[in-house]
Symmetry: C2
Subunit: 139 residues, 2 copies
DNA sequence: TCTATCGTTGACATACGTGTCAAGGTCCAG
DNA sequence: CTGGACCTTGACACGTATGTCAACGATAGA
């Protein structure tokens, strides 16, 4: 498929697809007329790239981890140098920390929302007790 | 405490603390001489900010969610406008998606690392079978 | 054939988080 | 009093992910 269709299907823009290509994340081949030609599987790949980008990973790292994400699993020995593996290892650690941070904070926001919604749904007479400490009201 | 100490304790730089202040994330008071004076609790707060930043959230959003993260829980009615709550709700959704994306990809990398390590630890004669499909070797 | 739509490259622009530097003020130890 | 460590503000710079625009080529439908 061509760049426009991929952009639509992967919820992005042609501009960004060219950017990802320039960063080495995807490498479409070319039609005779010079148009980029994208394989079907790139729809998911681009979605994946965008997810990782949104999660805060830089293209530099994404480029390194993409080869590990192939399925059916293919081992790319060329990429599997020892310090490449170390990079990956520490990157998974960072990802774990991100996950923990996001989870903790998301849950805290949820709890806050629950309390606020609870307060506004039932006017003022319910005890609002499942809290660790009595909520004070701040202007 | 002053900016240098906070920077050290929160593993960052004075530059960034001033930036976070400018973005409205923290508001130290001032000593008589104009020096910024930070409360103790800001060490954790800054760590939290940095975690969220690293997880890909922009300061704009972090600024909105910080008031929800107070503990003991304090409800800030001033911030609890209906569309503020909507923002928070959709932001928790985005965070959930990020978490899923990070988790999926981290696990995939882990699996990859396990396979590679398995291959190099035991030379070549073990079947390497817990895979969904036989790993091919790509140059 | 004309025109609209899509593609190409290249350049410039912007937002954001961060680094770095300059010019100067504060404060403490020697 | 002086030197060094620390603080102030302000400015400029950079990398990264994006938007946008210009100038041009390709393609398909009226």
């Amino acid at each position: 498929m061509r760049i426009g269709e991929l952009a639509r299907r992967a919820e992005t823009t042609p501009r960004l697809l060219r950017y990802y290509e320039q960063q080495g994340l995807i490498t479409p081949h070319r039609e005779a007329n010079g148009y980029r030609e994208y394989d079907e599987y790139l729809v998911d790949r681009v979605l994946q790239i965008r997810g990782l980008l949104d999660a805060g990973l830089p293209t530099r790292i994404i480029k390194q981890i993409l080869p590990c994400l192939d399925t059916p699993r293919t081992i790319h020995f060329a990429d599997a140098t020892p310090d490449m593996l170390d990079t990956l290892e520490s990157e998974t650690d960072r990802m774990t920390r991100r996950i923990q941070c996001l989870t903790r904070n998301r849950d805290a926001i949820r709890e806050y929302l629950d309390v606020v919604r609870g307060l506004s749904d039932q006017p003022t007479d319910r005890p609002t007790e499942p809290l660790t400490s009595r909520p004070e009201v701040a202007a």
